[in-house]
Symmetry: C2
Subunit: 149 residues, 2 copies
DNA sequence: GCTTGTTAGTTACAAAAACAACTATTACAA
DNA sequence: TTGTAATAGTTGTTTTTGTAACTAACAAGC
């Protein structure tokens, strides 16, 4: 049953927000300072870097990002020559997005930073704990509590 | 050492954000629908409900919220008669904030919902896991990874 | 062929957040 | 005192986000 002396830092959505904000801060600073990117732009960059050529919709589906966010992020990224767009021959509504050499370089750099950063964040956890934490978070990411629609 | 095949859903800040967003969605809908509140307003309400009379700065310190956010949240909450402000006699810069009866009622209601909601979110964890998760999140909330300043 | 509906992506406008500059009050030191 | 710095909170302006309406291209039924 629910805990009777409820506190704000026992409320998962609140806790997750706090942890997310705190843990993003320094990383955010890095991609902002080095490449002038916003969170949306960083995310698009990483999706292209990790999964290769994709369309905006595919990124949206994977990242749970609204298409307008992606549209604007892609616009900025193409303006700054990190990303190229190519119309699909068969279906001309579709655009295939891919990293330029410059985009790839930025991705490689930030990828390294992220990896190291992630490691440092969880430095005091052992392998099992780290894995357990991430697994729970993945589960929570896809979940809606029952009975609250 | 850092994991070599890095994926986006192994990057903690990203994961935390996804989990936070997903897990907040339905709850957000509730306080928005029932009381027309924003996240900032909900947070102020909960701080007052949980810890009693406080000043804006105290809330800011606890919640890691910028003072302008709080100022505007308090303004809305007083307009809607959820909160009252009272100048401090000794130091007239300071305002003491407190819930009205109506504010208390809203808090009581949402508090119940939150408790239940939180429980449902973690329904498939046992007590130990639930506690471990929250403990890790609290730790992450206060933490900045070393070497990234 | 022509409707009607759907999908990919963009654009325009409104809501919210971030950031900087401001007022009012207190503290404190010369 | 009085001048300088600090603190509590507000206001104004710029960015970013959210939402809805839009264009263009395709699909399917008739």
């Amino acid at each position: 049953m629910p805990d009777d002396n409820f506190q704000l830092n026992q409320f998962l959505p609140y806790l997750l927000n706090q942890a997310a904000e705190a843990s993003s801060l320094e990383f955010q600073q890095i991609y902002k300072d080095r490449y002038g990117m916003l969170r949306t732009e960083w995310r698009v960059l990483f999706h292209l870097g990790l999964y290769g050529r994709m369309t905006a919709s595919e990124i949206g589906a994977r990242a749970n990002m609204h298409k307008t966010k992606i549209s604007r992020a892609v616009q900025k990224l193409t303006e700054r020559r990190f990303v190229t767009r190519a119309r699909d021959d068969a279906d001309r509504r579709v655009e295939h997005l891919a990293l330029t050499a410059q985009g790839q370089a930025a991705y490689d750099d930030l990828h390294q930073v992220a990896q190291r950063y992630d490691w440092d964040l969880t430095a005091d956890l052992n392998e099992a704990e780290r894995a357990a934490l991430k697994k729970m978070l993945v589960k929570l990411s896809g979940k809606r509590p029952a009975g609250f629609t």
